[in-house]
């Protein structure tokens, strides 16, 4: 049997991602469809923020301070007269970006660690010890620690989010990879002399990728919550940069005079995370029901 022929079954069963009709099945789930629509709209408005935002998010106007929502300013204005809708749009951009960077980098690193741990039993103990130590630091603490050393800023939040993602992904990836390692095609690949690199990438990784992907989708909402909590604590974006968590914290000082300044950014976070969670749940049900808790 040639190496190509051996690859075929691996790719065929390469996981539920390649199954046809995933989108179709997702679309039948009404809640998931609405969540996907909402997330797409939010993502689009974040990407095209300069076009969509009605005002300059940094333009202060002291004649229009703390105005409640109106036809002119849909979400009202903040304590320096900036348009909150525009700031929420730009803030969403930063918040989503933070979440994406955290999930993508953390997912890559964690996936790599988990798969290597499963493939090289000798490294397994060491990698998993490292993961245990990482797990001993809750994300918020990492954020605080990085901010303590390097100063508060978006960088501190990104590092915290990556560190928060890596250990969990590593565990899930290792679990999935250990399962794949036991399959016959791995043994067959080894027997015909497929190189380690090919075995790890084409045989192992491609078979674990859907599990990792579903897990990351489920984590995305949590990562955004952690990021915005760090922003709220003042460890993330610094004023005047718009970031939803930080905007909520700034609005807190004016909570009794103009509650909308704090509640609208908080609400925006809630909507993003809710949509992400609902979509993640639906994706999991379709793609990888094993992850269900």
């Amino acid at each position: 049997m040639s190496v190509e022929a051996l690859n075929a079954p691996a790719a065929e069963t390469s996981g539920p991602l390649s199954r046809s009709g995933v989108l179709h099945r997702l679309a039948r789930d009404k809640v998931a469809a609405v969540a996907a629509l909402v997330l797409t709209l939010i993502a689009l408005s974040a990407v095209f923020a300069p076009v969509v935002a009605p005002y300059d998010p940094y333009l202060t106007d002291l004649t229009k301070v703390m105005q409640p929502p109106s036809a002119e300013h849909w979400f009202g204005t903040d304590n320096t007269g900036r348009d909150i809708l525009s700031r929420v749009i730009y803030g969403t951009r930063n918040t989503l970006m933070l979440g994406l960077i955290g999930v993508v980098i953390g997912g890559l690193l964690g996936g790599l660690l988990g798969i290597l741990a499963a493939y090289y039993p000798r490294a397994d103990g060491w990698i998993m010890r490292l993961v245990d130590v990482m797990l001993a630091f809750p994300a918020i603490l990492i954020g605080l620690a990085v901010a303590a050393v390097a100063g508060a800023g978006l960088g501190a939040v990104v590092i915290a989010l990556v560190v928060a993602t890596v250990p969990d992904v590593a565990r899930v990836a290792r679990g999935a990879a250990v399962g794949v390692m036991g399959q016959e095609f791995m043994e067959a690949g080894r027997a015909v002399g497929v190189s380690d690199r090919t075995l790890i990438w084409r045989y192992l990784t491609l078979n674990c990728i859907s599990t990792i992907f579903v897990f990351l989708t489920l984590r995305f909402g949590q990562i955004i919550l952690i990021g915005s909590a760090l922003g709220f604590l003042g460890m993330g974006a610094q004023p005047p940069t718009a970031e939803l968590g930080m905007m909520a914290a700034q609005g807190r000082d004016f909570l009794f005079m103009a509650p909308h300044i704090a509640t609208i950014p908080s609400c925006a976070i809630f909507v993003i995370v809710l949509a992400a969670n609902l979509l993640g749940d639906a994706l999991r049900d379709v793609l990888d029901p094993r992850l269900q808790t």
Partner: protein, 312 residues
């Protein structure tokens, strides 16, 4: 069971060492020289050198780390740069309030989560089940500070029912009213995940043979559900509570900051904002150790709840 616990303690030792090492590194990589900060901007070079020598900053890193562990074991975490008080003394004052807040939150979240989850499982597929699950998904997606803001705005400010800044004292000394809103904020976030998992776990157990047997021998439904189903469903739920410890801790930091609750989290945030490195490092270390301890407790509880773990 004793052996199990000793084993678990040994396993968490590397993690503890890692935590200590990272905390130690925190002080090493700080951009500012602690000796210069303590000496002040106009200090002479000799003074700085003397302070460096006194702090042991001129010795090799491994020796500094060993000395650091020695100091931590003696409870010496250095002095706050801002207040010049011993960090350990400041921390000692804040640990109580933080534990109080977390216990208060758990006291709200665990019974509510268990009750809602069990109820939803029993009423599976009906409207009440769907409503409970919708609320729990919404709860999982809610930032802690959003709940806090709403509670402060309405319960605290508009209706004036409860205090919402600071802590008036220990619970036994009239401090209960000031604890309610912070604990509720932190607790409400945890109800969702607990209810969700309880529902899944109870549903699984409800299909088991022993539940059918219990029903067949004519036990009342409440007895079946509480004694047979819920007790067995508790095992995954306890694990979840352990997993939520990180969440609980992070939430506590946010909640303490919001409600000016004098706990470890607020101390850490304040210290970072004012570049008080020794205090920040001490507070972060205590929080990390608290996290390890919660996980350890959960593991012990796990052994107690599920005797099968002992045998394996």
């Amino acid at each position: 069971m004793g052996r199990q616990i000793v084993h678990r303690l040994l396993v968490s030792f590397p993690a503890l060492l890692g935590v200590l090492f990272l905390c130690f590194c925190l002080l090493q990589v700080v951009p500012a020289d602690p000796a210069m900060i303590i000496a002040g901007p106009e200090a002479k070079a000799e003074t700085i050198a003397a302070i460096r020598n006194e702090l042991g900053l001129d010795r090799p890193i491994p020796i500094q780390f060993a000395e650091y562990i020695g100091r931590v074991l003696r409870g010496d975490l250095g002095r706050s740069i801002i207040s010049n008080k011993m960090v350990s003394e400041e921390l000692a004052l804040t640990i109580g309030p933080t534990v109080e807040l977390m216990l208060g939150a758990m006291l709200i979240a665990v019974p509510c989560g268990l009750a809602l989850g069990t109820f939803a499982a029993v009423r599976r597929g009906r409207l009440s089940d769907r409503i409970i699950m919708a609320i729990s998904v919404a709860g999982v997606s809610m930032p802690v500070f959003f709940i806090g803001l709403i509670l402060i705005q309405y319960v605290g400010f508009k209706w004036g029912l409860l205090p919402f800044t600071g802590r008036t004292g220990p619970i036994w000394d009239g401090g209960l009213p000031s604890l309610v809103l912070p604990a509720l904020t932190l607790g409400l976030v945890l109800i969702g995940p607990i209810a969700r998992l309880t529902r899944t776990a109870v549903l699984e157990v409800l299909g088991a043979d022993f539940v059918r047997t219990a029903r067949a021998k004519g036990l009342r439904e409440t007895v079946v559900i509480i004694h047979h189903a819920l007790r067995n469903a508790l095992i995954p739920v306890v694990t979840l509570i352990g997993l939520q410890a990180a969440f609980l801790l992070g939430g506590a930091v946010v909640t303490e900051t919001m409600f000016s609750w004098p706990g470890v989290g607020r101390l850490a945030v304040g210290a970072i904002v004012s570049s008080d490195f020794p205090t920040a490092q001490g507070a972060i270390m205590i929080l990390a150790i608290a996290f390890l301890t919660i996980n350890l407790l959960v593991d012990v509880l796990y052994v107690y709840l599920d005797p099968r773990v002992q045998r394996s």
